[in-house]
Amino acid sequence: MRRLMLALVLAAASLGVAGCNDFHYYDVDVTFDTSSGQFAGINEISTIQVMVMGVTGADNGDIQIGPNANGLPLVTGAHLGVFEFATFADSGQLTFVIRAFDDATSNPSCQTGQGMKTVDATSMTTNNVMMTVMKTGAGCVTP
């Protein structure tokens, strides 16, 4: 009986410890800037074949989307959608950087846009982040 009680106490303690290692999700909603001097509408945005998002700070990670996958190329509008980053970090800061390439590779000379956003890591399960991709270069495709 005493051993059973000890096992229950350990299980409860383990569940309590588990609360210190919960997943936190950062949903980064990416939109291209189509204002004056930025991307010239869907005609230019649709030339983007690869995008790379990286995370630094309290946690690290990266993902590459495309070509012809994960929503690329974008065919309508300027709203790409959400990148979701999962982490155990609940303190410090997270910096999200996204780069857009109008080539099938992530050749730096073909980078045409970039966005960056720094947020505080929180204990919330889901954190919504809005990010805008600004035009940074001509890229490799001539419109």
Binding site: L15, I63, G81, F83, E84, A86
Partner: protein
Amino acid sequence: MSTLAPPRNWTLSAAVAFALIVTMTVVSLPRVAHADLGDEPSSKSSEPGQVDDNDKPKDPSLLDKKPADAAVQQAAVPSAPFYENWKFWAVAGVVVVGAVALIVGGIYLSHQINGGDVRPCAVDFQGRCFGEGR
């Protein structure tokens, strides 16, 4: 004239003394004879006497087997092998099931301590999910 004391007084004292000596002799003589020769005492006594022989009791009931002797004799009989005892298999089964439950529970607890399962990537995100657990 005689110088001797009157014979009546001397005879009476001698008779009394002689009677005492005879009485003492008669009373003490059998005990002395028994101690010397190993004969049975004539009178029964509740306490064991010096001549009692405990190694060879004359009472037959003393030679009968006691319950303790029977238990010892039964224990000396070889019993069935332990694996033919249902209690052994009951205990072994409980131990095995407990060990398996402990391992599975430990794995589950370890998984929960490490954050559990990451939530699935939403369909709307079109596979743009990354980070811990992915």
